[in-house]
Subunit: 367 residues, 2 copies
Amino acid sequence: MRPYNFSAGPAMLPEEVLKQASAEMLDWQATGLSVMEMSHRSPPFESILKQTRDDLRELLKVPDTHHILFMQGGATAMNAIIPMNLLGRKGIDPAIDFVHTGVWSGKSLDEAGKYGNVNIAASSSGMHFRNVPVQKDWRLTANAAYVHICSNETINGNQFHFTPDTGSVPLVSDMSSEMLSRRVDFSKYGVVFACAQKNMGQAGLTVVIVRDDLIGHALPCCPSVFNWKNVADNQSMFNTPPTYAIYICGLVLKWLKRQGGVDRMEQASIEKSSLLYNFIDGSDFYRNDVAADSRSRMNVPFFLADESLNEAFTNEAAKKGILQIKGHRAVGGMRASLYNAMPVEGVRALIAFMQAFQQNHRIDKNL
Amino acid sequence: MRPYNFSAGPAMLPEEVLKQASAEMLDWQATGLSVMEMSHRSPPFESILKQTRDDLRELLKVPDTHHILFMQGGATAMNAIIPMNLLGRKGIDPAIDFVHTGVWSGKSLDEAGKYGNVNIAASSSGMHFRNVPVQKDWRLTANAAYVHICSNETINGNQFHFTPDTGSVPLVSDMSSEMLSRRVDFSKYGVVFACAQKNMGQAGLTVVIVRDDLIGHALPCCPSVFNWKNVADNQSMFNTPPTYAIYICGLVLKWLKRQGGVDRMEQASIEKSSLLYNFIDGSDFYRNDVAADSRSRMNVPFFLADESLNEAFTNEAAKKGILQIKGHRAVGGMRASLYNAMPVEGVRALIAFMQAFQQNHRIDKNL
């Protein structure tokens, strides 16, 4: 059996996907070629690209009003690419409204400040990012260029459990670590982006879902390759796309369809995260500090009451096949990422280990 | 036996590399993890990254005066990233000198024009890019920001067979399709860049070799993720790098070392390309139009005297296991790319097929 990999990303992939990738490595569907070796302009690769885009649209129910783009550079590049693409629109205020809920939205607003005027419409920084501010407290700018949120903060472990209403101002969301894990009404969003290495495959691919009317307004300084108009007009082939990463994403999507699609993943995410939060909340040995209404179903940071046991915890976990459970250096402690590829058995194994660890180390202390 | 894949990129990979990638797909060196699933901050991936960088430095003999950076976006993104990084230097003329030798240097100069003043120092456009202008005819700008060349034009099939002397002005070279195929004195270059999908693995990874004093001068508009200072200061981990593409690159480099390194690849490239050019030049059925002193050892475009046979040529070639031989749409005809992974047997098989095709279709015409 493979270990349970709780990495926040690059992250666990379904075993079926890896097996298929391994089997097809030297010869994809009797072409004699690895997908890595195919010209991006060849019919086999063009069919992979089209199928992956079609499957994403179907699984996510992306409306016809939105393009799906395959890009590079990860979410960090998007922090610049988004203002470069959205600030050239006529008649807007160059203000960008941010809801600051953690490390990732913080990075996004730092970068956006190079291109426009950042307004922090709401922030939970005073609360150590342990909650998502409710919308009635946001101070939005009328006619802002856009409103940016990070719908799931991978590091801080909070998540939006409501869809903000930004009226006619485009809502932009970094969904890197929750994409494909829950049903989203994309008609409410101007731009959604996600790097692939959480729920969609390997690092080096970024999926961007953008409303058509927001395409074609890039600032002159925007590199051509990151101008959404070029990407959209060329079906994500303005330049050579990350072909193998798109193929792996395609395999993940096929697997996801076999599992029952996004609705099934949403149920599973609720089940997995509830199991873990309930266990943590019922223990005085472990602790999660995020407000109950803002907890992430994807990334569960937690702390041992006795932090001197951290190293023993990760070492003993590894021996039980529970890998990459250490928390992000910005937060400390532990973090369990429960992406789509993590089966509920993995969460049960984690909880069983946490129980045993707690029992063993309580006894140690009592001696 | 695998087919011979003459694609210009993404391109043929060594069978040993693909076999190893396939075998390690579910479990890299008893970690229990696929390389795709490893946190980029985990010790196993950090060791892969370091080894790949060290092997590149050793194979290419990159001097200590230069950084090796792993980036994303391909050569097309670099067309913007380079001026964004080099035009902020104090005391320079914002002129950028270009030597225009084909489609790729053309793309580069179009993009650079968004950030600086482009001067075409020399061009072979009047000669349909069938040669590389000799340096004595170049009109360089004193104190230019940099001089840009494309040392091997993948589409037009020409290659620099001399190292330009640009004095104190940094020389920038797009070596995407010749990297690792010949010995280069990197001390003569300010910046060298190459996408990985020709000679180094899969699409989605760009290798940049940059002289240390050229780092740290980015324009304010440069996205942080593409600012060489951020990339260099963080050992190519400013953001999540394309981890799997770096791993594949590492496997290619290990294979290359087993083959005898860059000097051996240079010998092989001379042998392979000479065989093919000699055959073409000795035939009245096939034609290559590039000037003898400017011919590429990597990409050999050629034409059939009777272009109505093009489709028959590619179809019959495919039946013989000779794949992706069709020319680029901008040039037409055929193109054989002879990257490092192409064995000399592949070139012999291509020539044997071309001879047979010529014989069969001459007979057709005579009937």
